[in-house]
C-alpha cells in the first residue's frame, strides 16, 4: 500500500465496493427488508399498552354488596373475568398461565362493607411482573371506584380531595410506537454500520483478497474511504425507509426538520462504521467478527442506550459504562426530532460526542490495519 490519494484509483475501488453491495441480495435484505420488518413488528407486535387482561374472580360471599362488586369487575373494560365460587380451579389456571390474576371477594364481605369496610384480596401471577403490577393496581381501582360510588349514594364526599391532572407533551395518547421507531432506526443503522462492515472486511481477510488489495498501490485512506462511503449511503437509505414507513403507515409524526434527522443519523453512522472497521481489523474470521459485532455494537445499543431501559434507574457502574456506548447519544436527539422538533441545544452535544467516538474508532482501526500489514 502506498500513501497519497489518486482519484481514479479511488473511484475504481468505490465502484468495486458498490457493485459488491448491489449484487448481493443479502445487503438488500438488511437495508430494506429488515427496516420494514422491524417497523411492522414494533408497530403491531411490541405493544406495551395493555389491553383486556384475563383474570379469575372468586366470589365467596352471597350478599348484595359482593354481587355488586363482582358486577363491577365483570363490566370493567380492563378485565376479561372468569367467575367461580371456589378458588382452587382458578389457582390451577394461574399456574397454567390461563389467567394473570385472581380477585377474591371473601366470605363476610357484604357485612363488612355495610359497616364501612370491605377488603378484597388480589393474587397475581408474578412471573410476568408488568402484567402483575397492572392487575394489582387496576383491580384496586375497580374496587375503590365502586366503594366511592357507594359512599356517594350515602351522602359521603366522594371525590378524592387532591386530583392530579396529568398531561403528556409530544405524545398525548402515549402510544409506545413513538419511542419504538427511533429504536428501530438505531438497530438498523447499527446493523449496517457495524455488523455488515465488519463482515465484509473480515471476508476479505478470510478469502485472502486482502493480500491482493495490499499488493496494489491503493493508499490506506483510499481503502478505508472506499469501504465506508457505500455503507454510509446504505445506512442513510435504510434510515429513510424506516422513517417513511413509520410516518406513512403508523402515523408517527416527524416534527423536526428532515435536515436535523439526516445530521443526527450521519453523526451516528460514523462511530458505527468505525467500530465495524475496528472489529474486522482485529478479527480475520467472519464468524468471530459477527459475534463480536453483536456483542459490542448490537447488545449495548439495545440495552444500554436508554431505548428500552431507563439509564438513571441502572446501577451507578452501569450508568458509567453507558457513556461509552455511542447509541446512548443517538436516542435522545432521535426521540426529540421525531416527537418534539428541532432543538439544536440538545442535539449538538450529542452529535459532538458521537463524532468524538467516530474519530477514536477510526484512529484505532487505521492503526490496527497498519499493524496487520507490517
Amino acid at each position: 500500500m502506498s500513501a497519497g490519494f489518486d482519484r481514479r484509483r479511488f473511484r475504481a475501488m468505490l465502484v468495486k465496493e458498490a457493485r459488491q453491495i448491489v449484487r448481493d441480495p443479502s445487503t438488500f435484505l438488511i437495508a430494506f427488508v429488515l427496516p420494514i420488518l422491524l417497523i411492522f413488528l414494533f408497530g403491531f407486535g411490541v405493544n406495551l399498552d395493555t389491553a383486556r387482561t384475563d383474570i379469575g374472580l372468586s366470589r365467596q360471599d352471597d350478599g348484595a354488596a359482593a354481587r355488586a362488586l363482582a358486577g363491577a369487575f365483570q363490566h370493567s373494560r380492563w378485565f376479561a373475568v372468569r367467575q367461580t365460587g371456589a378458588i382452587e380451579p382458578l389457582e390451577n389456571a394461574l399456574v397454567a398461565g390461563e389467567v394473570h390474576g385472581i380477585v377474591v371477594i371473601p366470605n363476610g364481605f357484604s357485612r363488612e362493607a355495610a359497616a364501612g369496610g370491605g377488603d378484597i384480596q388480589v393474587i397475581t401471577d408474578g412471573s410476568s411482573p408488568n402484567t402483575a403490577g397492572f392487575v394489582a393496581s387496576y383491580a384496586d381501582g375497580v374496587r375503590a371506584s365502586w366503594a366511592a360510588a357507594r359512599a356517594a349514594e350515602r351522602g359521603q364526599p366522594a371525590a378524592p380531595p387532591i386530583a392530579l391532572v396529568p398531561r403528556f407533551w409530544f405524545n398525548p395518547a402515549l402510544a409506545s410506537r413513538y419511542f419504538l421507531v427511533p429504536g428501530a432506526i438505531a438497530i438498523v443503522m447499527t446493523m449496517i454500520g457495524s455488523l455488515l462492515t465488519a463482515l465484509i472486511i473480515a471476508r476479505e481477510w478470510e478469502r485472502g483478497t486482502m493480500e491482493a488489495i495490499m499488493a496494489t498501490p491503493l493508499g490506506m485512506g483510499e481503502f478505508i474511504a472506499s469501504k465506508v462511503i457505500p455503507y454510509f449511503l446504505l445506512g442513510i437509505g435504510s434510515m429513510t425507509v424506516c422513517t417513511l414507513i413509520a410516518i406513512a403507515v403508523f402515523g408517527v409524526p416527524l416534527r423536526g426538520s428532515p435536515l436535523a434527522l439526516l445530521v443526527i443519523a450521519s453523526a451516528f453512522l460514523i462511530p458505527a462504521l468505525g467500530l465495524g472497521l475496528l472489529i474486522s481489523a482485529t478479527t480475520k474470521n467472519q464468524f468471530v467478527a459477527s459475534q463480536i459485532a453483536l456483542l459490542t455494537a448490537f447488545l449495548p445499543g439495545m440495552l444500554l442506550s436508554g431505548f428500552l431501559f431507563e439509564i438513571p434507574s441502572m446501577p451507578r457502574w452501569v450508568q458509567a459504562i453507558t457513556y461509552a456506548v455511542p447509541a446512548r447519544y443517538l436516542i435522545p436527539p432521535l426521540q426529540t426530532v421525531f416527537a418534539a422538533g428541532d432543538n439544536w441545544g440538545l442535539f449538538l452535544p450529542d452529535i459532538a460526542a458521537m463524532l468524538g467516538f467516530g474519530l477514536l474508532f477510526f484512529t484505532l482501526a487505521i492503526r490496527a490495519n497498519r499493524r496487520r500489514i507490517a
Binding site: D24, P25, S26, T27, I30, V33, L37, L41, N47, T50, D54, G97, D119, Q121, V122, I123, T124, G126, S127, P129, N130, A132, A136, R143, A147, A148, Q156, P160, P161, I162, V165, P166, R167, F168, W169, F170, N171, L174, A175, Y178, F179, L196, L199, I200, T283, F287, V288, S290, Q291, L294, L295, L299, F309, P312, S313, M314, Q335, A340, G345, L346
Partner: protein, 367 residues
C-alpha cells in the same frame, strides 16, 4: 443409516466449529456477557427521577405535597420552576421527566373542602417512563389528600399478594426468558454457517461426492448446534439460580425436554437459512432476519396477549413462544407436567415442518 459414518460426520462438524480458539471463546463469552448486561440494565422501575415544581400557591397544601415528593424513594431531585418558559426549557432539554404546577387557589381549595387539582406535565418522548412516574405522583397526591383531609377516605382495602415472584423482581422474569433466547441463538448461529461456510470454501462438493447419505449429512450438521444449544442452556441453568438467586422450582428434566424440542424446530429454521445462502455473510444476515421476529414475538419484549389476533396466531408457530411459557412456568411457578406438555406438544409439529422443509431445500441444493 450407518452409525459410524454419522459419528464421523458429527465429529467433523464439531471440529469445524470448535477448532478455532477465537470461535471457542465466542461460544461462551457472549452468552455470559449477555447475562451480565441484561441483569445490570434490565429494569422496569424508574428510579433517580428529577421532577420540576412550579409552586404558584405557596400554601400549606402545596408545601405538604412537595414535602412528600422529596420523601419519595424514587425521586432524587426537585427543581424549582418559576415561569412557563422555564417549564418548557426544563422538559424540552430533558432536565426533568415531568413537572407539577400548583395554581394560586390550590391550598385555598383544599382548606375550603373543595376538590383541588394540581396539573402535571410529562415528557411524552419517553412515554413508558413518563407513565410510570405519573403513577408515582398520583399515589403521592392521594396520600397528601388523605393526610390533610382524612374524613374523605372510603373504607375497604385491596390486599395484594404476588405469587411466584413476591417482590415483582423484573430480573426473575428476564432470566428464564434469556435461557430461551440464548438456547436458540447459539444453536442458530452455528447452524446457519454449517452449509454456507462449506459452500463459500468450496468443500460442499467434496461432501456431496463422499459416501455419506443425505440424512447422515443432515444429522451430522444438526447435532453440533443442538449440543451447543444444550450446553449454553446448562450454563445458564447453573449460573442463574446460583448467582442471581432466581428460583428454579420446577422439573429440570422437563425444561431440558422443552429445550430439546424447541432446538429441533430452531435448527430446522437455521438449516433453511443456511441452504438458501451462498455465503456466510448471507447466512448471518438471514439469521438476524429470522431471530429478530422470533424474539419480538415470543412474549419477551411484550406480552403476546397485547398483540392483534392475527399476530397471536402467527406467534403460535414460533418455537420460542412455547419455550418461553414453559421456561417461565418451570423456573418460577413449578408448572406441573400436564400444563408443560400442553404447551410443549405444538413444538413437535413445528419441528416436523421446519426439518422437512430444510431437508427438501438441502436436497435441492445437492442437485
Amino acid at each position: 443409516m450407518n452409525g459410524r459414518r454419522i459419528l464421523a460426520m458429527v465429529t467433523k462438524e464439531l471440529w469445524a466449529v470448535l477448532r478455532d480458539p477465537h470461535a471457542r471463546l465466542v461460544l461462551i463469552a457472549p452468552p455470559l456477557m449477555q447475562l451480565i448486561l441484561f441483569s445490570a440494565a434490565a429494569t422496569l422501575e424508574v428510579k433517580n427521577v428529577t421532577i420540576g415544581v412550579w409552586d404558584r400557591d405557596n400554601g400549606a397544601a402545596s408545601a405538604e405535597f412537595i414535602n412528600q415528593l422529596a420523601g419519595s424513594p424514587n425521586i432524587r431531585r426537585i427543581v424549582r420552576i418559576d415561569s412557563p418558559k422555564a417549564l418548557r426549557t426544563a422538559i424540552d432539554d430533558q432536565q426533568v421527566i415531568g413537572a407539577i404546577i400548583f395554581d394560586q387557589a390550590f391550598s385555598r381549595d383544599v382548606a375550603a373542602h373543595r376538590p383541588a387539582t394540581a396539573q402535571a406535565i410529562f415528557d411524552g418522548r419517553r412515554s413508558n417512563a413518563a407513565q410510570i412516574v405519573a403513577g408515582y405522583l398520583g399515589t403521592i397526591a392521594a396520600s397528601v389528600g388523605a393526610t390533610i383531609r382524612p374524613e374523605t377516605s372510603v373504607g375497604g382495602q385491596t390486599v395484594v399478594s404476588h405469587w411466584f415472584n413476591p417482590n415483582l423482581d423484573y430480573l426473575w422474569f428476564v432470566m428464564p426468558a434469556l435461557v430461551v433466547t440464548i438456547c436458540s441463538l447459539s444453536a442458530l448461529s452455528v447452524t446457519v454457517q454449517s452449509v454456507a461456510r462449506e459452500r463459500e470454501l468450496g468443500t460442499f462438493d467434496q461432501l456431496m461426492v463422499s459416501p455419506l447419505r443425505l440424512h447422515e449429512i443432515l444429522i451430522g450438521k444438526l447435532t453440533p448446534p443442538i449440543l451447543i444449544g444444550l450446553f449454553n442452556t446448562t450454563l445458564y441453568l447453573m449460573v442463574i439460580p446460583l448467582f442471581y438467586g432466581v428460583p428454579l422450582v420446577g422439573s429440570v428434566l422437563l425444561l431440558y425436554l422443552a429445550a430439546f424440542a424447541s432446538l429441533l424446530a430452531v435448527v430446522g429454521v437455521g438449516m433453511m437459512v443456511s441452504a438458501l445462502s451462498q455465503t456466510q455473510q448471507q447466512a448471518f444476515l438471514g439469521m438476524f432476519l429470522v431471530t429478530v421476529p422470533m424474539t419480538l414475538l415470543s412474549g419477551f419484549a411484550a406480552p403476546v396477549d397485547n398483540m392483534p389476533g392475527w399476530l397471536q396466531i402467527i406467534a403460535e408457530a414460533n418455537p420460542q413462544k412455547h419455550f418461553l411459557v414453559i421456561s417461565e412456568g418451570l423456573f418460577l411457578k413449578g408448572m406441573p407436567a400436564a400444563a408443560v406438555l400442553r404447551e410443549l406438544w405444538p413444538l413437535i409439529p413445528i419441528a416436523a415442518v421446519t426439518l422437512t422443509v430444510s431437508t427438501l431445500l438441502f436436497r435441492s441444493r445437492m442437485e
